[in-house]
Amino acid sequence: MLELRDLHRSFGGLVAVDGVSFSVPAGAMFGFVGRNGAGKTTVMRIVCGLLAADAGTVTWNDRQITRERIGYMPEERGLYLKMRLADQLEYFAVLHGASHADGRAAARGWLERFGLGDRTAARVEELSHGNQQRVQLAAALVHGPELLILDEPFAGLDPIATDVMVAVLREQAARGVPVLISSHQLELVEQICESVAIIDRGRLLAWGAVEELRAGGPRLVRVDVRDAPADWTDSLPGAEVVERSDGRTVFELAPTGDPQRVLDVARAVGTVTYFAELRPSLAELFREAVSA
């Protein structure tokens, strides 16, 4: 388990990270979301050892983290533009402790996997943007990391490339590797991550399983009723109307409120054409958390 405890970091007078704590269990896909400048990259750089925290600790399985075992994909992509793909990936593997032979084999393996098997001798500058992104991910994976830290891995990718990347990341998670992903694409994060942390202005606003966070939001129920009298909602205790337009009503339930009771009353007064419990999307939770 990757554990961040009470991280603080400031640059000059600017507080970039202010008491961030969360943990990522082994094998989890973990989303790390926040606005631009919220402190995501700073936290990730601290985890990777690129920046020192002013205070706080990062542990991996209760011990100090070994940098070599991390696979990192920086937000600002970085590769040697004039170096051949296979040589480059081999170099990154070797710097993480692999032998040259193992590094070369792993480099070729990942290039095959990303459909670049016939371009091992190409230089990065000759590749398309999407392919460069694939090589960047390969550079994070080539040494078989125990932990993946990916800063905006999907930025600028087309849907097909995104699918390939998601498949590879799921595979890594299935191997027991925790995958920490920062992203702006909240729908995507909601789809692929079991857990998220929301950060704003350096402070952690919320973190936990996506389902729990959604369940923890306001309990909303939407009912569409035809031919009902305008005042039918008055007879519903524990449910407050928050939105109403011809035939469609959204209630917010009190903690004791029961959605089935709302349905019963609605059926008694008219024909119910639509009934659903509304759970806030991650994007809505995020907006609410950030604007609070």
């Binding site: 940098r67 990192y72 600002e76 590769l79 040697y80 070797v94 710097l95």
Partner: protein, 462 residues
Amino acid sequence: MSARRAIWEVARRELVERSRSRVLRISLVVLVLLSGGGAVAAARLGGHTPTDHVGLVGTRSEALAPAIRLQAKAAGRNVRLRKLPNAAAARRAVRDGSVDLALLDGNRVLVKHSGASSAVRVVRDAVATRAVLARLRRAGLSEGRALAALAPRALPTTVLEPRPRNYDRDEGLIVIGMLALFMMLVFFGQALAQSVTEEKSSRVVELLLTTVPPRHLLAGKVLGVGLLGLALLFVPSLAALAAGNLAGGVGLPSAAPEAVALILLWFVLGYVLYSVAFAAVGALVSRQEDLNTAMLPVNAVLIVAFYLALFVVNDNPNGTLARVAAFVPPLSPMLVPARVVLGDMTVLGLAAAVALDLLATVGIVVLAGRAYERAILRIGAPLKLRRLLRPDTARQRAAASGTRQVQRARHVEPALRAGAVALLLAGVLVGFGDPLGIALATVGLLLVLAVQGRGRLHRRHR
């Protein structure tokens, strides 16, 4: 991964990737051809004693043959004598160049273009000496006394400031060594700075730094580029030596091992000092366009060192300027070899200069490492040097250690450092000929080491 392996892998990449460059390969071939060809040409042109061809017409000319041979030998030239039957044959031989001149009847010289050649001078002097000898004999001197009169005892000469033996040869070596170091620093120091900037601007450095600490990355790059530069200097030099030897010319002067060793030592010291500075400068900027401006200060020091060295070597290796400047670390690599081999620097002075240079190198490595660590991840406008070099702020340190002791150390350390440097300087100024100077410098050096060790202890403690 061990520090050594990390440094070596970084160095290895520099070597492999750079040696793939076509420009580098072509330069190497051109350098080998030029230096090898130059050595062969030098051996062909300059390796032999010049030979004069002299035609002799008539018995009086032939009688002068031994005198001409003696004179040529005295002038350091070979002479080939050839009997010619008559003046017409002599004219033909001079015209077609088979002889440089002809001596007619022992009293006239025939030349093709000009009477001012060395061959004419040899023959003229031989004839004149012969005539003087004949007159002395006629005046009644014996052959022995006449010869003695012609060759008086050498004038006694007192040398006030004797130069070491082989001064000229050593001066040549020193100048070549300096030139090599200067070229190496200009080309490879700047190449190093460029490659640091390239890693920064392509942002690949962020990936590298997750596994290699900045200091190891810096050391690996310095090592890799340095090895390549050495190869690029040594391969053509060896080619020149081999080609020169094969062509029968000069090899490495066999009697100069200590001069060569000294030049090599300072070559390495100088390269490390400057290359680290260049690398640090490379880390300050994000774009290649900003690099030239940023390198200006380092280049300026380098050029000053080079001109000072040329001046000192050519002019006065024992002057006050040379004496003082040899102890200034960025200038030492260019000056100390000249001061030791050509001047009067002692072993003690050499040791002090090496110690000061190493001290400065440690200082530059610490500062450059700090600049590198702080600057390498910041993209944008070139960074201000001062912001990068100043020690961590008190707040950061206090946050890191949670003690007040460190804050006190912040004031004590610079004071100790300044004191140490002052002692060292005082020692140098008093001079190492004086026991006081040696004592001052030694205390200063020990103090520096103590402060350094203390700082390290603190860091480890934290």
